[in-house]
């Protein structure tokens, strides 16, 4: 930490020069006298540079995991054992984070072993892996004529997870797995959901006898039951292109939808996987449980658009990540045609595919503002988009239109009222 002169020296020297020059030109001693305090200040600034002494600087965050929209409190503790001196502290803020309370830049008097605590609150508008970087410390000579800088190297990470809205009835899978779960399987066996009635055969349990049918038909009949099985669900997130303001873009909305769906399926004991389809192909293989939920959230928090010309081939994804029996739910703003191609390819390969089309129009409108021309453009875009969705439905794709603003469950409810396909084992 070495002392460096500040531009204030130049200002004082300028005035000193003027005073001396004018004094010489006018021949008046008052101007030379006026130069004396300026000269003394310059000399004092050279001398009054306190020694650094022993420093202790630490930074802590109140939480390391939070949901978007929540706040995190940052506390900086400074203890200096040298003489009392003017200290400036500065914490650079990462993008998409704003100050909710306090200041991230502070001036204080530190020294003589006194502990100083400085706190401020950050508001994290959008999901991200928030990294608070180095803390900058600057010691000032009291008049401001010299400064010594130091950097406190410390990284604090906070995971800002997407907001999750509860979904009571997520799309049902067409095929189930062999594990016990909450989905009614067409296969007959042990379960609580009644199925067909058939004549009694030796080996049937008496508690399965359907007495009403037996009395009506005059022979013993039993009620068969459907098995309850779990399902594999793979969320396919499109991060090829994005539109909208940071923290509330179309991809951000799709991520919120993906997190809500993942929470709903995991609560039903299903295994949930994730594929981020974009410039970087990130994959999380299907699994269940609390730890897996956090793994999914971590991946969703990092999901971002990385520009690429390459169209990724989903055939290269191993079956353990994209099981053939899985229900694939694709969430996309449908801006980039490459994603549509990949989704259509999946459907052609026999995957049970549901496309949640997250509308980018509302996100784009928040970015460009209002106006007659904007309204007209938005209406035209909405018409074009509706025609595109109808064309995709005509090709046999299951499309759920979601504007990203209303709860996803409302969009799913509209779709679920339609007759559902027969579930195959």
């Amino acid at each position: 930490m070495s002392w460096r002169p500040t531009p204030l020296n130049l200002s004082l020297i300028t005035l000193l020069g003027w005073a001396l020059l004018l004094g010489v030109l006018s021949g008046r001693a008052e101007l030379i006298v006026a130069a004396a305090p300026l000269l003394v200040a310059l000399a004092a600034g050279r001398r009054a540079r306190p020694a650094a002494g022993d420093w202790r600087l630490a930074r802590s965050v109140s939480r390391d995991r939070l949901v978007e929209g929540e706040r995190v409190t940052v506390t900086v503790t400074l203890q200096a054992f040298g003489p009392s001196q003017l200290v400036e502290l500065y914490q650079p803020l990462p993008a998409h984070v704003r100050l909710a309370r306090g200041h991230h830049h502070a001036f204080t008097a530190a020294g003589e072993g006194r502990e100083i605590r400085w706190t401020f609150e950050l508001h994290c508008a959008g999901r991200q892996r928030l990294r608070l970087g180095d803390l900058h410390l600057r010691r000032w000579e009291p008049l401001g004529l010299a400064a010594a800088e130091a950097v406190h190297r410390e990284i604090s990470e906070v995971s800002v997870y997407p907001h999750v809205t509860p979904i009571r009835r997520p799309p049902s899978p067409a095929r189930t797995q062999t594990y016990v779960g909450h989905h009614v399987s067409p296969a007959q066996g042990e379960g609580i959901e009644p199925g067909d009635i058939r004549p009694f055969v030796p080996g049937d349990q008496v508690r399965h006898v359907n007495w009403r049918a037996t009395l009506r038909l005059g022979a013993l009949h039993v009620t068969q039951h459907h098995r309850e099985r779990s399902a594999d669900v793979v969320l396919l997130l499109d991060t090829l292109a994005d539109v909208g303001p940071a923290g509330d873009s179309a991809v951000d909305r799709a991520v919120r939808g993906a997190a809500s769906l993942a929470a709903a399926y995991l609560a039903r004991k299903d295994r949930v996987g994730l594929i981020e389809y974009g410039g970087i192909l990130r994959q999380v293989r299907p699994a269940a449980g609390r730890a897996h939920w956090e793994r999914l959230l971590d991946t969703l928090a990092r999901a971002s658009v990385v520009f690429t010309y390459v169209a990724r081939d989903l055939e290269r994804i191993p079956p353990r990540v994209l099981p053939p029996q899985a229900l694939v739910i694709a969430l996309s703003p449908l801006i980039d045609g490459r994603f549509l191609g990949a989704a259509a390819d999946l459907a052609a390969r026999g995957f049970d595919l549901v496309v949640v089309a997250v509308s980018p129009i509302a996100a784009a409108r928040t970015l460009v503002g209002g106006g007659a021309v904007t309204d007209l453009a938005a209406r035209l875009w909405a018409l074009e988009r509706r025609a595109e969705l109808d064309r995709l439905r005509g090709r046999g794709l299951t499309i759920i239109d979601w504007d990203g603003v209303e709860p996803l469950e409302a969009a799913l409810a509209v779709w679920q009222r339609r007759p559902r396909r027969r579930v195959r084992a």
Partner: protein, 164 residues
Amino acid sequence: MALLAGVGPALCPWPGVIALGIAASVVGGAGTLARIVPLATAGGALALIAYALALALEQPAGHPLTGAALGAGLVLLLALVHFAARTRGAAVDPRLARLLLRHWLPVLALGVMVAAALVVGGTLVALGLRGVALPMVMAIATLGAVAAAAGVIALVTSPGRPAP
């Protein structure tokens, strides 16, 4: 800033001096309000020019106290504007006021004392140089001023010593 700019016009209410004083007030005031140190410096320089012009026109009896006060005021003004510029948008600990006063007041007092010593020393030198030709006096004064300026520049621009 208005006080510093008003010293010259108060001494000699000549239109040119008044105009310079107003210019100093406007420029320096803008620098003070906007917390721009170079503007405040320009205002200070204009105030010095107005004061020098007033002294040259009015030729009053010696006012060393006014000169010392003007110099101390300029130091205080620049230090305040610089501090305000640095702390813009930052949280400032109230304890800082005591720390700054503890450092600034001795510097200003020392400046006034040095000015007083300069006056006394100057008077003695003037007595010593009585009868010497004017060009010689001017040359000695210029040499002294240049030596002082060079000393200050050397003091400020020498490599900073690392803090222990």
